[in-house]
Amino acid sequence: MQSYVHVILAGLSSGMFIWLVASGLTLIFGVLGVLNFAHGSFYMLGAYCSFTVLKYLGAGYWAGLLLGPLAVCAAGFVVERFFLRHVYRIALPYQLLLTFAFVLIFDNLVKIVWGGGALSPPSLSFLGGSVPILGRNFPVYNLFIIAVGPAVALLLWALLEKTWYGRIIRAASSDREMAASLGVRVPALFTGVFVFGTWLGALGGGLSVPYVGLLTPGMGETIIIEAFIVAVIGGLGSLKGAFVGALVIGVLSAFGTRFFPAFDMALTFILMGGVLLWRPQGLFGATR
């Protein structure tokens, strides 16, 4: 019982953590139609910037979490405004290639700026430590992640469904020309959405600092694949799908690692393959 509960908790926290990264990826795909490989780089940059604020500027972790991702938004702005904007109309593989180029560039820049060695943050005071659950310790910070995930989901839902901006964004994502003809400045809107998506990815990075406890120049590459898988399982462009997909992947991976370790490297891919064979458009994807 203790074991099952802890496996589920581990799964929930890792699922919510992936969701935080996948949410920005999904939002950008849903609105701009771009599969952003560099999203993992924004995650990495978010982690490094937060870490810098926390460690070198002497500010606390929470200041790092606030300021770090904001700094990364500038990178997102540059990528969208000066590069991505010019390739919306060309084929998908070229978009992938463009964002892949940024993965190389950002990975290398991080190495130049912060060094190649792994950085490891000091442990947290507030929200650090653990609480016993059924006789085994569980980190408080993971409970915090489990809470932040739905909070971000709620925020996104409220933003898209309840605000004027949300309506504009949804209109523009379903029909660019139509929105443009109604006077929406679509390019500016897209830049805004991209920067917001960047912020979400960077926020995930900032939250990863205590969660993973390690920063390395290649840290974005593992997470981006998991985020892709989650987004695809949920149905590309569907935030609800990404949320559910992340939960499914998180919990099933935790069970897989614990009870079927032989398959744990392939497990997420098997799940994705299975879902796509069963429902090609993903769990909540619109049929195209």
Binding site: I90, P93, L104, V232, F269, G273, P280
Partner: protein
């Protein structure tokens, strides 16, 4: 007709130049040229799928790996004859491609890409974890380059790089020739039709899924060929051949060179290998340099290097036509 003659002459010149490489250049250049040709075989086959049929696969590394492990296991357990080994490698790749393709060709676009990615990574995980058969992450070692014996009597050694070079060149030329024929065959036209408009192709009487499967397996065979040749070149087969990062290489070079021509992936392969080499000689920060060059190519050469240059060439030679 004129363009045809020009292409034939260009091909002949390139082939001659390739034949001359072992006599004119240093060992490292020979080695790099072999690597370019291997990537070229991989990419030119892959581009039948991406450029000709419009399908983006993220799992072709698996077939490359199947070729390498196929040759390696055949060499270790059955026979070290290189030609039989290559045949075994290609056969393994074809079988795997048939299996994966049957599952995947129902889907298109990004879903096809993700499904092939999943299958490729399952293969990667298999090669990594089936340690008894594949040697795990250490890779399959002990692959040797035995002489090619033909018709009982003739024995051609390929142990030295200068000798093996011609073995690779033979398969490279064969691959390019086959890809060229396919592009200009009825089959190739049907594939182009599927790329342009799959639904209409069905209404033209083309069984689209079967064609997709056929070209998927065909490109898998090219990947398997390249993989088996690499296993011979480097004397090993490794799981990372099946990893998605390796599957992305033919996509990268096809896009670099241009999707719409036969020469595109080949030029892209040469650029990819040579450029990394150049950058690495100037800086340890090769990723940065490579990323910037990629950006320039994507932003500046929308149709790939070959496409853009040939458009420029046409403009320059025919100024009157505007």
């Amino acid at each position: 007709m004129k363009a045809q003659t020009r292409n034939a002459v260009a091909a002949a010149v390139v082939l001659l130049a390739l034949c001359a490489v072992p006599f004119l250049s240093g060992k490292f250049a020979i080695y790099l040229t072999m690597r370019i040709m291997l990537l070229g075989i991989f990419a030119v086959g892959y581009n039948l799928l991406l450029g000709q049929t419009g399908l983006l696969s993220f799992g072709h590394g698996a077939f490359y790996a199947a070729g390498a492990y196929g040759l390696g296991l055949f060499g270790v357990h059955v026979s070290t004859h290189p030609l039989l080994g290559v045949a075994a490698g290609v056969a393994a790749a074809v079988l795997l491609a048939l299996l994966v393709g049957t599952l995947c060709v129902r889907h298109t676009e990004i879903y096809f890409a993700m499904l092939t990615l999943a299958c490729g990574m399952m293969a990667f995980s298999f090669f990594w974890n089936a340690r008894e058969i594949t040697g795990g992450d250490d890779g399959l070692i002990g692959i040797v380059r035995a002489p090619v014996s033909l018709f009982g009597g003739i024995r051609m050694p390929i142990g030295k790089d200068e000798q093996f070079y011609f073995f690779v060149l033979f398969f490279f030329a064969l691959s390019v020739w086959v890809a060229h024929r396919i592009r200009h065959s009825p089959f190739g036209l049907a594939l182009a039709g599927i790329r342009e408009n799959a639904r209409r192709s069905e209404f033209a009487g083309v069984p689209v899924r079967r064609y997709r499967l056929a070209v998927f397996v065909l490109s898998g065979a090219f990947a398997g060929l390249a993989g088996s040749l690499e296993a011979l070149l480097e004397s090993n087969a490794r799981p990372f051949m099946a990893h998605w990062t390796h599957s992305a290489e033919p996509i990268l070079v096809s896009l670099l060179g241009g999707l719409s021509s036969l020469a595109g992936p080949l030029v892209g392969s040469a650029i990819f290998v040579a450029m990394r080499e150049i950058i690495q000689r100037f800086t340890e920060n090769w990723m940065l340099g490579f990323g910037v060059v990629l950006l320039v190519i994507i932003m500046g050469f929308r149709g790939g290097v070959v496409g853009t240059l040939s458009a420029l060439f046409r403009k320059a030679t025919a100024p009157g036509e505007g």
